[in-house]
């Protein structure tokens, strides 16, 4: 009769875990893989009507030279804790950010400030979209009417940083 010893089980488990960790992931980038984001433009909402939501979109060029052309996007606002907020002095106005992996979209995946969201694939064939389609992704920024409706009077601004990682 054979009994497995706890030591042997632990050794096997460790070896298995090591083997699994060593397996290449289909979604992960290899060393040397790069990405590039271009075609960005500032977004000016103008005067908000303080009742209805307002969304501005822009098509951007997103390039990834990984084997799958995959990438992850992380958006950081310049509010407290990288929050998506615009500021007017001490007052803030929140906004929301969505991202679509193709251009010309009116909806996308909601991004959480400071959190990388993966699973996007770029169709760009050149790092600045100088050949093929001129853009490959859509950035959507929304200011809710309710947020504007409770905001203090003023001109608000903020910087949104987009960080792209090849996958």
């Amino acid at each position: 009769m054979v009994h497995d010893s706890p030591v042997m089980k632990s050794a096997l488990a460790l070896a298995l875990a090591t083997a699994i960790a060593a397996l290449p992931s289909a979604a992960s980038a290899k060393p040397g893989d790069n990405a590039r984001i271009t075609g960005l433009a500032d977004l000016a909402f103008g005067t908000l009507n303080m009742v209805s939501d307002k969304t501005l979109t822009e098509d951007v060029c997103l390039f990834s030279d990984s084997a799958t052309s995959g990438y992850a996007v992380q958006a950081n606002g310049d509010g407290a804790g990288s929050a998506f907020t615009l500021a007017s002095g001490a007052f803030t106005l929140p906004y929301e950010v969505r991202w679509s992996g193709s251009s010309g979209q009116t909806n996308g995946t909601a991004l959480t400030a400071g959190v990388s969201t993966s699973g996007f694939v770029s169709a760009a064939s050149q790092q600045a979209c100088r050949s093929g389609a001129p853009s490959s992704a859509t950035l959507l920024v929304t200011i809710r009417g309710a947020a504007a409706g409770s905001a203090r009077v003023g001109t608000y601004s903020g910087v949104l940083t987009l960080t792209i990682t090849p996958q």
């Binding site: 984001i37 409770s150 903020g158």
Partner: protein, 191 residues
């Protein structure tokens, strides 16, 4: 010796001050946007988002005022708590009351076109039975709202008091059994 040391220290301080002054002249470069990303891992870009919010105010929570079977020997007064919201930095506002009488007068009228005047008072806090006397069609002095949202859905539920009064002298001119009515319009302006 002591003098020399002090002098050296003085020179050192002067040099330090000069360095600080020079450093302060070097402006921190502002982030120019849009900033396009470079090819890399990761690649990073920046944009500036701007929006403006106009000065706005809102008045909610109004109720009709009814005086029923009023004793002409007793002054009539009805107070109500309302919600005023202003999005100016100081949450300040003015109120202008307009009646539907002649030249916007605060008057009620019956079916025989007989009129009776009333007065309007406003307080910048709720729960009041009196306040600042308003003149018809004339903006009041500044009030400050404690409202945190447009309709006072979050506390405080009310932020101001509207008081309508009819004095005994005027009550005494009214015809018994006759119904008088009028419309009072309140305009709130952010300040």
């Amino acid at each position: 010796m002591t003098t020399q040391l002090n002098t050296k220290r003085g020179i050192a301080r002067a040099l330090t001050l000069a360095a600080v002054a020079a450093g302060s002249l070097i402006a921190t470069p502002a982030l120019a946007t849009p900033h396009q990303g470079s090819l890399g891992n990761p690649s990073q870009g920046d944009i500036t988002i701007t929006a403006s919010v106009q000065a706005r105010a809102r008045l909610t929570g109004l109720s009709d005022v009814t005086f029923t079977n009023q004793d002409p020997g007793t002054a009539a007064a009805k107070a109500q708590d309302v919600c005023v919201w202003s999005n100016t930095s100081g949450k300040t506002y003015t109120v202008t009351a307009t009646g539907d009488g002649s030249s916007s007068a605060f008057t009620l009228k019956n079916s025989a076109n007989a009129t009776v005047p009333y007065t309007v008072e406003w307080a910048g806090t709720s729960g009041q039975t009196g306040g600042t006397l308003l003149a018809a069609s004339t903006a009041s002095a500044s009030f400050t709202s404690g409202a945190v949202d447009q309709t006072c859905s979050s506390a405080p539920s009310t932020t101001a008091s509207l008081v309508v009064k009819i004095g005994t002298t005027d009550l005494g001119t009214m015809t018994a059994g006759s119904s008088y009515s009028g419309v009072l319009t309140l305009s709130i302006a952010p300040l």
